[in-house]
Amino acid sequence: MKDLIYYFKRDKMVIIATIILTVIILSSIFANFIVPHNPYDLASVSLMDSMKPPIWMKNGVDKFLLGSDLQGRGILSTILYGTRISLLVGFSAVILGGIIGVTLGMVAGYFGGKIDSIIMRMADIQLSFPTMLIAITVMAFLGRGIFKLIVVIGLATWVTYARTARGSTLSIKNSEYVEAAKLIGINNTKILIRHILPNILTPIIVIATVQIAQVIMLEATLSFLGIGVPLTEPSLGLMISDGYKRLLSGKWWLVVFPGGFLVMIVLSINIIGDWLRDVLNPKLK
């Protein structure tokens, strides 16, 4: 921990990224207290406020700092509310997919043989199904909801982690330090956690940080298809996928602000991820 702080202080980029991410997370959690109106409360929204440009432009109104969307929701407040959902889905799904995937991948790679075949063929099966089809089916079965959405996305993404973890595990499972650990009598679980995991973490962190953005967009696509968040409570991704249709017509604020917000989130997460990866690797110090 002391080490972390030491390296943290040395890297300005990380400090900035962390501050940005913290501000974003906090402001989305406490959005209720920050923004004047709740865009998810239908009674407070009016079509009469539709498509107002940002405040500094002609026709801009005071009420909407960054303009409003088609239904008359303020862009800024919707972003803050929407970020909450997007981050929740993004992080949870990546963590869920990551945990399932890395665990199965390491187990497959480490034990090999039948276990490997079974897990990896399961992965093959999983890979063959379009996320959309899974989503529609799950929805048909279970109905929708954020939790189900996370599960669907987690299920759809575990394979990437699994295959990566397996590949890296395969190449180090015969190394001498793993043999040494076996000789000491460390059980397999601990070998996996202490010796294999830290040494395959590099690609996993890369994939996980890159995937967060993907997952947020996947959530948008699924929400758009009707599984996941309701249209009346747009997430960041949904705002973007709604807004892009109006890109041609010059209503740029519908997509530029939520898009910019997403870029900022993704950038900070990746900068922090890169840094974390470096710090976790003793050789790079």
Binding site: M51, G72, F224, L248, S249, G250, K251
Partner: protein, 479 residues
Amino acid sequence: AETMTIATPSDALTLDPIMLSETPTISVQMNIFEGLVHLDENMDIQPGLASSWEVEDDTTWVFHLQKGVKFHNGDDFDAEDVKFSIERAKNHPKSQFKSPVGQVESIEIIDDYTIAIKTNFPYPILPRKIGRILICSKDYVEANSDQHLQNNAVGTGPYQVSSWEKDEEMVLTAYEDYWGEKPEVDKAILKPISNPATRVSSFLSGEVDILMDLPVQDVERVEEAKGVKVVTRPGLRLIFLGVNTQEGPFSKLKVRQAVYHAINEDAIVEHVMNGHAYKAGQFYPDTIFGYNPDVKRVPYDPEKAKQLLAEAGYPDGFTIQFDSSNDRYMNDGQIAQAVAIQLARVGINVELNVQTKSAHFDKVLSRNTDFYLLGWTNSLGDGIQFLDGLLHTPEDSYGRFNLGNYSNQEVDKLIEEAAMTLDEEKRSKIMQEAVRIGIEEVAYLPLHYQQQLYGMKENIKWTPRPDKYVKISTMGFDN
């Protein structure tokens, strides 16, 4: 040689005219094949392969066929082909055109160029229905497998398919020996581009000459562009709300009226549809047979709505689930949201359940809904379709899309009467009456008719049709 490149929202799926009753597919087939009659830009009946027809008795129709017509493969067109095509539509196991010819009892060849069609009972819309059956060459169809026919069309129409890469482009070239007027456009390239933004872009970049289904939000952008114009036409599709008239809050007329009053359709048209829709006051627009000019839309009046709700026993409103698709109609998801927001203002708490179209249809068609959004297109140009399917009490083949189980004996009777009345004027009156009652009782809540929007290069002369079929032969150029 004039070439026209057209960006369409989707490709035809088959070239066999009985296999699929779907607008984009028929739209393409309409250029290659012809029916006995066809509808013009105003949805009025015009002669096609039949030069004239008459009603012999209540149930017998005689059609006189064009002479000297040749199929693209050189076969001559005659009564055999007509009989064969109609019977194929009626009997082929996979035919999707069984309904249009469902009332056809028998077809009799009087001579090479005259046939008589007998119906089960007096059937006023037979010509409109029979017009939907496109005529194929008997010899050609019999000589080829079904599979072959999917991709290889031989018709009598003004155009022939000269190449077809599915979902990529179809090239149609004018048929040299076409019996009718020679079209101005020699060659048409149909490019299916399903993504609206891309379609608009390909138009803006000059890659295509005609843009179909211009999204309402992009109208201004296209209008600003140089050398192109936006052409609008009233569409046939009605977007409406359906409610369960038998159970729940909507079983009370006052609640239905309240909801209708609570919806500010002007705002929806202006903001959601960007001004490109027509406020609807009844079930079909004035181009359709059976329109009632006296029925007016109720005004937007939230106060009245609240009052009606209170009178109905819901002073504090109620909660209801609202089903809608979001990828079927123009801006359907946004319309549903706007409705939800407006109802929220009068105290009705709407839980919006927006789904992809297959899921949505699955849900509402199984009548598992109390409140839903749907669209309806009158492709025949005759309102009886709506009345049969949506206003009549569900029984037998009636009311199959009457998903809210609206039921009124009087209306039922009127509809049944209209179906059998051959006299146009009388029939029109009966249908107008049914519409009046349906609107008065708020059987459905019509929102708006969609507008059809096209982008065209400035030098193009073309009046699109309300049914969205792209007839290339009607296109031309200003010089």
